[in-house]
Amino acid sequence: MDSIAALKELLYKIADDQLIIGHRNSEWTGLGPVLEEDIAFSSMAQDKIGQSEHIYNLLHQLGEADADTVAFTRNAPQFHCSQLVELPIGGYDFSLIRHFLFDFAEYLRFEALKTSAYQPLAQVAKKFFGEIKYHTMHANTWVHQLGHGNGESNGKMQESLNYAWNYALGMFEPGPAEDVLITENIFIGETALREQWLEVITPLLEKSNLVIPSQSEWAPIYGGRKGEHTEHLQPLLSEMTEVYTIDPTADW
């Protein structure tokens, strides 16, 4: 695989993760448990979807279709998002745990990409990094608070962490050309990212009275990066593209 193809594969998975988690975050708009949280998830949705558009623009510069076409006309098997992001929002406990696991990974991914040899990506990474910092602070505040709340809140968070864990490990599914990305200094690679992520989240979860499943139970759920998805992605896409499908030329 040449470096352009490897780069495109990397960009697609980043943008698709952001678009889909952004859409899931937006499902809390109007339903958040308290007003501030409703606003927080809505703001994070806006950040993620806005960031995905800029990554799709980078793909467009590399010869792919424009951002709207890419976002709104593909079916589930053409998406490269991890299965973690497509899971339904569930209860607030699950949404917070997923938010925590996903955003720390994304924060570290963009931190690494700040020094990418591919300059256009390094430039957006610098910008996104500053924004995502707020997402990780938000996630950690709530995980800590509910981890220490009472037996019920701790139990719910722990149960969600257990459920989300193998999906979260699936975020780091190695791509077909990790070696190219690494030798060309485009990206540090998924294995190195996973190591960094574990180093950062392990002490934070410990401080929050939450226990990472024991290593013998780790079984990363891969497939998302190759277009293999859960039954939940296609209904999300159908809903997200409803207006676009009715009139692809509509402007709003």
């Binding site: 927080a40 809505s42 703001s43 979807i49 806005g50 500053g130 924004e131 602070m137």
Partner: protein
């Protein structure tokens, strides 16, 4: 011939659509102005937030505003991430304008933001430091929510971004 300095001055009339007291120049998003020999103007803007819905609106506002100057040629506007926007790019005049809109201006030197840093945002009404942060997310992407324990007033802050 028109100079970039002149264009920068004139762009002070273009205001942020979400905080109409601050100009896009004082907001620090005008990162490049090129003027050609025949007075064509190319303006480069950098996004405050990647998902800011006002971005395209501000591009159009720049085009429209400069388009009204008869001596200028073709106006083009581009958005680029080449210069990363941080709240440290907001001018001192910009801080005053943010206050005028009833928002607490962002702290300076924002490269290492922590929750503690946000906690101690001074109240824009009574200037008390005895405030607490309610949420780092507010009604627009650039604002956080706070409460002043001294004057018992809720307020919004323009949050620091590094």
């Amino acid at each position: 011939m028109t100079t970039p300095k002149y264009i920068r001055q004139e762009l002070k009339q273009v205001k942020d659509p979400e905080i109409p007291t601050i100009s896009i120049v004082d907001l620090g998003i005008v990162t490049g102005i090129d003027v050609s020999e025949n007075n064509d103007v190319h303006v480069t803007l950098t996004p405050t937030f990647a998902g800011c819905p006002a971005l395209r609106m501000m591009e159009d506002m720049v085009k429209e505003h400069l388009g009204s100057y008869e001596q200028l040629g073709t106006i083009t506007v581009e958005t680029s991430f080449a210069t990363t926007w941080t709240t440290d790019l907001i001018t001192p005049e910009g801080h005053e304008a943010i206050k005028k809109h009833g928002l607490a201006p962002p702290k300076r030197n924002c490269s290492n933001i922590t929750m503690d840093l946000l906690e101690a945002t001074p109240c824009p009404y009574c200037e008390s430091g005895d405030t607490s942060m309610k949420s780092p997310f507010g009604p627009t992407l650039c604002r956080s929510l706070h409460y002043c324990n001294n004057c018992k007033q809720a307020f919004e802050g323009f949050k620091p971004v590094g």
